[in-house]
């Protein structure tokens, strides 16, 4: 527990501040609408539901402002780059930007529910007091529009006792925009659940652009001024504390109280969301500008098991290890952008991605390049965008764990480390690397196999065999494979991969691995980097906490996970 706090205190602080501001804004707006005399007569009809609706509205404005910021990935990359002097812990929240986006989205959903329920009560009460004939204050107030000579006198938006609530909702700006943006929100949420996002990415991508409707609707939502309070002038003439009891005598010209006059207030939502909207618009323009720049494909390589490698060049493109780019191929789909990790090292003069068949778009892309027709399909690239792998050189000892397709960022890291090592780069703090590669079968990653092969040879030549320690774990084994391995166990190279390091079968026993490393490096800071499934992340995180000593001078394991 202690280790978790040390690693995450800044993220926790941000969350506490965010939640605290939510509570503060809610309570402040609630008290304002519950106690302010301006709304005395409004509360007479509506009760506390007014305050609940307005308080949740204010928090909705606040959260809608925040939700666009974590998805401005160019901006976040910029902040990460300029703050490279900051400690790791301070930059950690930047990695959790999508988590924060989801948290704010959940809060928006919750507040929307509160807001809608409160307004349902409000409308119901307005409707009842409009139809009431008991001569109470509420019914007198509701009938005000008939009495006022100026158009501003009315309080109750329902103008006639026969109007149905559905009619009022769909003919008022607030009601109509409210329904539309709630539908947009619901569609965005249902298409963004992990199941849909993972397996049918296009559904998520296109539907999520409904946020444009949400933002526009939110800005227009308050234009009608349907929430009304007493005007200042009217309060000076006939203050509710003096006049409320004598409401039967308002018609009387001799009585000192007049009918109260009401006004709506200007919409406030635009004040909150203007700045993030501008920021996001700028982000999209930047993405578009970067994507228009010409990308030259220098090499196309088809690897076994239908893996396509594209080596490309783009003017002004500079990357760091483990970063990813978004790729668009207009001839396949004009609007879709798909993320791919860069598999080349920054020291190389090109950048590359490895594409595997994982859905419609990737299949079409591979087919388009397989046909070898000139001219090659045009590719647009946006990025690169940073993830934690940039920090891998800052650790003395690095544990890199790649599961399945997650091995791709480590291609870039290993290549880069190798280049730095060859050039004896003194900025390289890394002394030792432990690399764990876990996959079902090596077929689709034969290209990574070759990379490890060449690294092995080069390390032997330089005589630095101990620098990189790697182990491959095949989880999709059967008795045949094991039989072969047993028979050939004294051969110098592994029969499956051709690597010097023998393949292990099944999953690694992490406790053993961690304790071995902790014993071998008792005073170091070990960075643990994972690109793989959630379940593995959980167990590794636990191991990190278990094997880090509480003494900050002794071995410390820091866990970092890549996420898309």
């Amino acid at each position: 527990m202690g280790n978790w706090v040390v690693n995450h205190w800044f993220s926790v602080l941000i969350l506490v501040i965010w939640f605290g501001l939510n509570v503060f804004l809610f309570v402040q707006a609630f008290l304002q609408y519950e106690t302010d005399d301006k709304y005395y007569y409004t509360r007479e009809i509506l009760g506390s539901a007014l305050a609940w609706a307005r308080a949740s509205a204010r928090c909705l404005n606040y959260n809608s402002m925040l939700i666009l910021v974590p998805v401005c990935r160019n901006l976040l990359s910029f902040v990460r780059g300029t703050c490279s002097f900051c400690s790791r812990t301070l930059r950690k929240p930047l990695d959790h930007n999508l988590t924060f986006h989801k948290l704010v989205a959940y809060m928006i959903c919750l507040l929307t529910a509160v807001h809608i329920i409160a307004h349902l009560f409000n409308f119901e009460r307005y409707s009842r007091s409009r139809r009431a004939t008991d001569g109470s204050l509420a019914s007198v107030l509701s009938n005000l529009s008939h009495h006022g000579k100026e158009g501003d006198a009315w309080l109750n938006p329902i103008h006639s006792p026969d109007t149905t609530l559905l009619y009022v909702t769909f003919t008022s700006i607030a009601g109509l925009t409210g329904v539309i943006i709630t539908i947009a929100l619901i569609l965005m949420v249902t298409s963004a659940v992990e199941f849909i996002r993972k397996h049918y990415f296009e559904v998520f991508w296109y539907t999520h652009h409904l946020f444009i409707i949400y933002i526009i609707g939110l800005v227009i939502h308050g234009v009608g001024g349907i929430v009304r309070g007493q005007t200042k002038k009217s309060m000076e003439e006939s203050h509710p504390h003096e006049c409320a009891e004598s409401f039967e005598k308002w018609d009387d010209p001799d009585h000192h109280c007049r009918h109260p006059q009401f006004e709506g207030h200007f919409p406030q939502s635009w004040e909150w969301i203007l700045a993030p909207c501008i920021l996001y618009a700028f982000e999209r323009i930047l993405r578009f500008y970067r994507s228009r720049q010409k990308v030259v494909i220098t090499k196309v390589i088809m690897h076994p098991s239908k893996v396509l490698e594209l080596q490309m060049k783009k003017r002004g493109f500079s990357m760091e290890v483990g970063q990813y780019v978004f790729v668009n191929c207009p001839s396949i789909s004009f609007l879709e952008w798909h993320p791919f990790t860069l598999t080349s090292a920054p020291e190389e003069d090109f950048f590359s991605i490895h594409v595997r068949v994982a859905g419609d778009w990737t299949e079409k892309l591979i087919k388009a390049f397989e046909q070898q027709k000139l001219p090659l399909p045009r590719i647009e690239v946006d990025g690169p965008f940073g993830t934690v792998s940039e920090d891998v050189f800052q650790y003395e000892v690095a544990m890199l764990i790649g599961a399945g397709i997650g091995v791709t960022p480590f291609a870039s890291i290993l290549k880069s480390i190798w280049y730095k090592f060859q050039r004896a780069d003194h900025k390289l703090k890394t002394q030792k690397i432990y690399f764990y590669w876990i996959c079902r079968e090596t077929g689709a990653f034969a290209w990574f196999n070759d990379l490890l092969n060449s690294l092995e040879k080069e390390m032997e030549e330089l005589g630095k065999v101990g620098f990189l320690n790697y182990r491959l774990f095949l989880t999709g084994w059967d008795s045949n494979i094991v039989g072969h391995a047993a028979i050939n166990f004294d051969k110098a190279t592994d029969i499956l991969t051709g690597l010097k390091q023998k393949t292990s079968f099944g999953r690694p026993m992490w406790d053993n691995e961690f304790s071995t490393i902790a014993t071998a490096h008792p005073k170091s800071v070990v960075g643990v980097f994972l690109c793989g499934p959630q379940g593995l992340a959980k167990s590794l995180r636990k191991c990190c906490q278990r094997h880090s000593s509480l003494d900050p001078r002794k071995v410390q394991f820091y866990f970092n996970k890549e996420n898309f």
Binding site: F123, E124, V179, T190, H199, M509
Partner: protein, 194 residues
């Protein structure tokens, strides 16, 4: 677009609509709104929709993640046969269920969401999709290596030298045999292995 299974999204949307219907219905009934009996209807319809949509169908390719505890409802749905498999039926059912809730403001949101789900189901049905239940997977074999920490340091015991057939084997015996050379057994031991 060829590989998108629209029914999966329709399922999420319908489940959400069911919950929204229930929520709107509870508000209308508890607040005794005008025509609140539509609210009671919405609660019942919402519960029915949730029960029908809770078990996730299996994907055409690859494995599907089950929702927690959906096995029991899957069994019930399997009994319904074509009524649960066919998406035209689901589209029509959702459309029909949503109409009465459309008369009340508190439940109109649920109506619109359910109509959208119905449209997506119609699209899925037109593309020939069907609901197939997720069959329970055979239990994963337990990890045998959990208790093995170190390989054994001694080789397994061998029969004494006399019982061994090939004298050449003696030279290839790995180091670590019983110290002090092979033992002489007081009682002769015959090697039963051929």
């Amino acid at each position: 677009m060829g590989q998108i299974e629209w029914a999966m999204w329709a399922n999420e949307q319908a489940l959400a609509s069911g919950l929204i219907l229930v929520a709107g219905g509870i508000v209308a009934t508890a607040g005794r709104f005008t025509q609140w009996y539509f609210g009671t209807y919405a609660i019942a319809a919402g519960v029915l929709v949730c029960l029908l949509e809770y078990p996730r169908g299996s994907r055409a390719k690859g494995s599907t993640l089950e929702r927690c505890g959906q096995r029991y409802l899957t069994a019930v749905l399997k009994l319904l046969g074509p009524l649960s498999r066919n998406y035209y039926f689901r589209a029509a059912l959702h459309l029909a269920l949503s109409v009465p809730a459309g008369f009340l403001l508190a439940t109109i949101l649920g109506t619109v969401c359910l109509v959208i789900a119905s449209i997506i189901y119609l699209l899925a049905a037109v593309r020939g999709e069907q609901w197939t239940p997720i069959e329970p997977r055979p239990k994963e074999r337990p990890q045998v290596g959990g208790t093995i920490k170190q390989p054994p340091s001694n080789p397994p015991p061998r029969p004494p030298v006399e019982a061994r057939k090939k004298p050449g084997e003696e030279d290839a015996t790995p180091a670590g045999g019983p110290p002090g050379g092979p033992r002489v057994n007081p009682i002769p031991v015959t090697d039963e292995v051929v």
